[in-house]
Symmetry: C2
Subunit: 350 residues, 2 copies
């Protein structure tokens, strides 16, 4: 597999977005977030997404230069309107604002409406961690998931992410969709003509299916039954309704109606450790917790116990040195982007 | 099944607790919380728990009259010490304080350490809802759950609850343990000599077991695999570490070492809707969302789609009128409590 230097990918993606009118500063943030996902091995949210961002920029549904406008400022809580700018940029600014308010009041909560797809949520909680805060990020998404007990789509894959600073150990970074699997995995199985496990999706008849074609006409299911479904619903309410944004099927699908802004909503929360047990104590105790859990005897079928975000962190360290091994689909996307933007595609590490 | 009037149960439980030194005001709060659980059909967290609370009161590990002391006040965030008082009382006061701060700053976060078992979390988010706020409640618990990939216990069943006000529809109340099932369900199967599904627990050998005796010597598993395990961990960190309280195996088991306070931690969060989209808008939109989801076509094997907290709400309405149908174990507990406290047990509705 070809490996790419992170800085080459960043520069390339930024130029592609700038070619369609993105400001240099926002193009850099988006490029950094996408390449961060690839660095962590989360290729579904990496440079492959630059394609749809470019298309939406050109169609006018991602508005370059949009500011995160404050709608209401209550001190620790701020409601913002993203003005249909880049979701990544809005989410970064919202998390930074949440951290700023948390530093002042102990906790900060920033709601964002009229945003777009914001990519891998871990990126934003890592930003909070880098500033010494505990970060929580929620986002809604377009309807692909049937609530528990239903056969029709209503909820998004509505992810949630929580980041906890550690000391010498990697930070704890939980980042999960509330669906059993991402839509992309069903699509990939359909392309390859493979069956899917019956626990991933329902067909249009409301019955679990192993046929990815049926699943694509049906609905994904939430992870963990009624509990995961409840979490998906709560994420939609907090990110979509509470912010005064769109929710459920009102959110425009990322890959459809490209001229319409998606209207995605986010909620970013930060806790300032000094308002609680103190950052130093927290770091020490998280280190101990991480080491304790890592040292637990593995269950049958496991070699060792991993902490949330630990595999991604190890990949990030490795790929930053050795280059990012991009999957074929991503390399193909780079080629398409180069053609569309009239640029040279980045070269693989020799 | 015998039915009991909620007010009879409340009065009885309060007197039982007062007989062991609880102040009238705190005994009333605890009794109301336990009976609320029975009213909602959550009998595992109902009057059956009064027994262990009484034993812990007598052993001195629940301290009557303990105040929720403010350790650090940062405006929107407050860190408190429960002084080993009743968990229910500390959690109520913490949620009320979180709502008060949310009203002032848009969001409020109250951490509590040195608390005890606080029962059904829904009780606290219902309190937030009654005050017009969105409420989130987290609590850690003693170690019964093996983190994903491990064969040994480390995490508690660490529940989380989220409450969202509605208008004419019942509020959305998600309340879930992060374990696949409660410990009590494995115990119940052991008593009845029944098998359990292999998805509930691991035996001491780290393999899934259908033998409840093996499961009791082993560990419960998180719901939803790695995702549920990540949530259980995050709840422990937020409720236990961030508050400077105990975490993981440091938390004293509810039914062991009765002389030692448990050292449970909670985190209560409240969002003030007026700082976001406004309460009226939120109520209207939640009503619409609830009706939309309820109207979705059911999946195979389902009669209809339920919202989180809706079955419990319906039971609450019915049982408040017709009396609470207590399961046999609960009736037996009432008899034991009556004997221990030298009181007459409440009488069933004729």
């Amino acid at each position: 597999m070809s490996r790419y230097r992170p800085e080459d990918l960043r520069r390339f993606v930024a130029r592609v977005l700038e070619s369609a009118g993105a400001l240099a500063e926002e193009a850099e943030v988006v490029a950094d977030a996408l390449v961060c996902a690839d660095l962590r091995g989360v290729h579904s949210h990496g440079v492959v997404r630059a394609g749809i961002y470019l298309d939406r920029l050109r169609a006018g549904s991602i508005r370059p230069g949009a500011q995160l406008a404050v709608v209401r400022d209550s001190g620790a809580a701020v409601l913002c309107d993203a003005g249909s700018g880049f979701g990544v940029v809005a989410a970064c600014r919202a998390m930074d604002l949440a951290v700023e308010r948390a530093r002042r009041y102990g906790v900060g909560a920033v709601g964002v409406r009229n945003s777009n797809h914001c990519g891998m949520l871990a990126y934003f909680v890592l930003r909070a961690i880098a500033q010494g805060a505990v970060g929580v990020a929620l986002s809604n998404a377009d309807a692909q998931v049937a609530p528990y007990g239903a056969r029709a789509r209503y909820l998004g894959t509505n992810p949630l992410s929580v980041g906890i600073p550690a000391g010498e150990e990697p930070a704890i970074v939980l980042d999960m969709a509330t669906s059993e699997v991402a839509h992309g995995r069903v699509q990939a199985a359909a392309v390859r003509g493979e069956r899917i496990p019956p626990t991933w999706a329902l067909g249009p008849d409301g019955r679990p299916t192993t046929d990815p074609q049926q699943a694509l006409r049906g609905a994904l299911v939430p992870f963990g039954g009624a509990k995961g479904s409840g979490l998906a619903l709560v994420v939609d309410v907090l990110a979509g309704l509470v912010t005064g944004g769109r929710s459920g099927p009102e959110v425009v699908p990322l890959y459809e109606e490209l001229h319409r802004p998606q209207g995605v909503g986010h909620l970013m929360l930060a806790l300032w450790p000094e308002a609680f047990c103190g950052l130093r104590t927290l770091r020490d105790r998280v280190d101990r917790l991480v080491r304790d859990i890592r040292a637990l005897p593995p269950a049958e079928g496991f070699d060792r116990v991993w902490l949330p975000g630990e595999p991604e962190y190890r990949r990030q360290l490795e790929y930053a040195q050795a280059g990012i091994p991009l999957p074929e689909e991503a390399v193909a996307v780079l080629q398409q982007l180069a053609e569309k933007a009239g640029l040279a595609a980045p070269e693989a590490v020799p």
